[in-house]
Amino acid sequence: MKKRFNPIKDKSSEIIEFVMSSPDIPDDDVLKFKLRLSIEEAVENVVRYAYDGGIGWLETNIDFNQDTLLLTIQLRDAGVPFNPLEKEDPDVTLSAEDRNIGGLGIYLCKKMMDNIEYRYEDGNNVLTMTKKVQSNSNE
């Protein structure tokens, strides 16, 4: 299921709820928590940073493969080329005084999903997140 949102300024919630309402999202509260968190952090990353002033589009694509049981969530935008996976993981052992909140979002994505890949393709940032699930809600 593919959908393009344009413009995306202040549209994070709408985009997140659209992805979470997909029939491909399994009806499992624990899994949904992890997916929602990954989707929110990834979408926020695009909405906040991809375009100057948030004027631009974001395309979501959700797919569930019945054979491999792999759920794939892909985000595509035409914003500033940016590979969020290149960013160094935050030091999660620092004390409160030394902590900076930056970088936690994508770090959470990495921890919650099984795999995340980034590529720059045809002038687009493409972030592909996958997670193995037991079954989806249609079954």
Binding site: E41, V92, T93, S95, E97, R99, I101, L104, G105
Partner: protein
Amino acid sequence: MDIKISQQDNKTMVVLNGRIDTSNADQFQQDVAPLMEGENPDIDIDCTDMSYTSSQGLRIFLMLQKSVKARGGKMVMRNMNPQVKEVFDITGFSNIITII
């Protein structure tokens, strides 16, 4: 997300209900802003009904913790559900904030 703030003895009691995410983090930050000043810094946060937080919520909990600690107080978060606790564990926030 719903938040209830009350005073008990010299401590601020906070009860959170629902999700803290990108849709309400700014409001949440405004709601707890008064807790970042004053002479009674201790905060007790009941997380029993907090169903979710993203990094947006973590950012605000970190601000609260820093503010409380700077004033010599103690912040406690209690009864987190396992998924929320996992977010605090993964990000190392469990080592920064007292979770009981």
